[in-house]
């Protein structure tokens, strides 16, 4: 069931706050109820993970709920298309704070092999992702490992401090207010730009077509 370990060693927040943080984090990390967003083949592996053989109830995360109001952890398992992106974002917004996002499989992490017009090239362009799991599909063990790593991450959060100080408000592209910093560990350069990014789009040359407008259809 995990332990009441001290979350941080620095003592600038006081004994009571750190103790309460530890208690709250202990509760949060051991009851990560997943929102199973099984979009394609990875969803099958997700089901195996929830089932008795791999059994994520050992880590307090077995209560998959199909109402976003009852979920803490959104597991995006599969290929997210731009058509589905609105639904995924709506589900994420309907989940109550605190909430975390796990990108399961290369499709949701980076678009994977679908370097295509219909697939979101990494769900981090519409959602703040906490943890990425590589694999096509990842084995259930890998996702369980990710959940354990996420538990470590939750241990290091300071809910009391955020509550008292007013949270650091981060505007994430998309909707309203997200209270955690999205993962910007990787610095992007000009060369890393994907053709889907707004900046690349302006300069893109589309296979000899005069302009994007010249290829536009007539139904809008």
């Amino acid at each position: 069931m995990g332990s009441l370990t001290e979350a941080r060693t620095s003592s600038d927040e006081g004994f009571l706050a750190t103790r309460l943080d530890a208690l709250i984090n202990w509760g949060r990390k051991n009851s990560l109820w997943p929102m199973p967003l099984g979009l394609s083949c990875c969803g099958i592996e997700l089901m195996a993970m929830i089932g008795p053989r791999f059994d994520i109830s050992r880590f307090g995360a077995e209560a998959a709920r199909f109402s976003p109001r009852q979920c803490d952890l959104m597991i995006v398992a599969g290929t997210l298309t731009w058509k589905m992106a609105k639904a995924a974002r709506t589900i994420y917004d309907q989940m109550p704070e605190p909430k975390w996002v796990l990108a399961m499989g290369v499709c949701s992490s980076s678009g994977g092999m679908y370097d295509s017009y219909s697939v979101v090239q990494g769900i981090d362009s519409i959602l703040p992702v906490d943890i990425y799991v590589p694999g096509c599909p990842p084995r259930p063990d890998a996702v369980i490992d990710a959940i354990l790593k996420l538990q470590k991450k939750i241990e290091r959060e300071s809910p009391i401090k955020n509550l008292l100080a007013g949270t650091e408000v981060v505007e994430h592209e998309g909707t309203g207010v997200i209270r955690r910093q999205p993962n910007h560990a990787v610095e992007r350069t000009e060369l890393d730009r994907h053709p889907h990014s707004p900046a690349a789009r302006e300069t893109a040359v589309h296979f000899g077509a005069a302009s994007p407008e010249s290829l536009r259809g007539d139904d809008q």
């Binding site: 219909s118 979101v120 309203g176 889907h196 789009r201 589309h206 296979f207 290829l215 259809g217 809008q220």
Partner: protein
């Protein structure tokens, strides 16, 4: 494998004048009097080619006179790269006769500036979805279709992705999402707008 014995190979002209294929005989009888040509049979399936005005008549006769009672598919081919000639799109219909156990395929060429064709949803209601897909992916308009909307791509997408001049990675694939997102951000945070 040895080279085919020239003595056993049937002369080409003989096939054209005296079709031994019973399917072709049936199709020729049903389409008698129409301006159709018989293309090279592929996959042992008889292929019929004609102008687009004839499509509805041909389909009706194939169904009612030649006994092809089931529609297999309606689809489209973009010949942009291979021919560079203007009848760029080729709409392909394939029918199957369960009673005779054979198939027939029809091809119609369309130009890109006027890619319209008669719908056959009145003959086979099941053609509806396939025509919607061909419209979505290639921009071929089927006249008389009761509900010609996009099938796979979101409405308002604005492009036809299986056309050969459409880039694989898309043109502004996130445009509709971003527009939707901007709208609802206004509800969340009225100060922004």
């Amino acid at each position: 494998m040895t080279a085919p014995d020239p003595a056993n190979a049937a002369p080409e002209a003989a096939v054209d004048t005296a079709p031994e294929n019973p399917t072709e005989t049936r199709v020729r009888a049903a389409l008698d009097g129409l301006e159709v040509s018989f293309g090279a049979a592929q996959d042992a399936i008889v292929c019929v080619e004609f102008e687009r005005e004839l499509l509805h008549t041909v389909m009706e006769r194939l169904r009612d006179s030649a006994g092809f009672e089931t529609l297999t598919f309606v689809t489209c081919v973009d010949h942009l790269a291979s021919t560079a000639t203007e009848p760029r799109f080729e709409v392909v219909h394939q029918l199957i006769s369960l009673a005779h156990g054979d198939r027939v395929r029809t091809r119609v060429r369309l130009t890109s500036d006027d890619a319209t064709l008669a719908s056959i949803t009145d003959l086979w209601p099941g053609a509806g979805f396939m025509e919607r897909e061909a419209y979505d992916m290639f921009g071929v308009r089927f006249e008389g279709h009761p509900n010609l909307k996009r099938l796979l791509m979101p409405e308002g997408y604005g492009h036809h992705p299986l056309r050969k001049d459409f880039p694989q990675q898309g043109i502004e694939p996130d445009r509709l999402y971003r527009e939707w997102d901007r709208e609802r951000r206004k509800d969340w945070n009225p100060k922004e707008s």
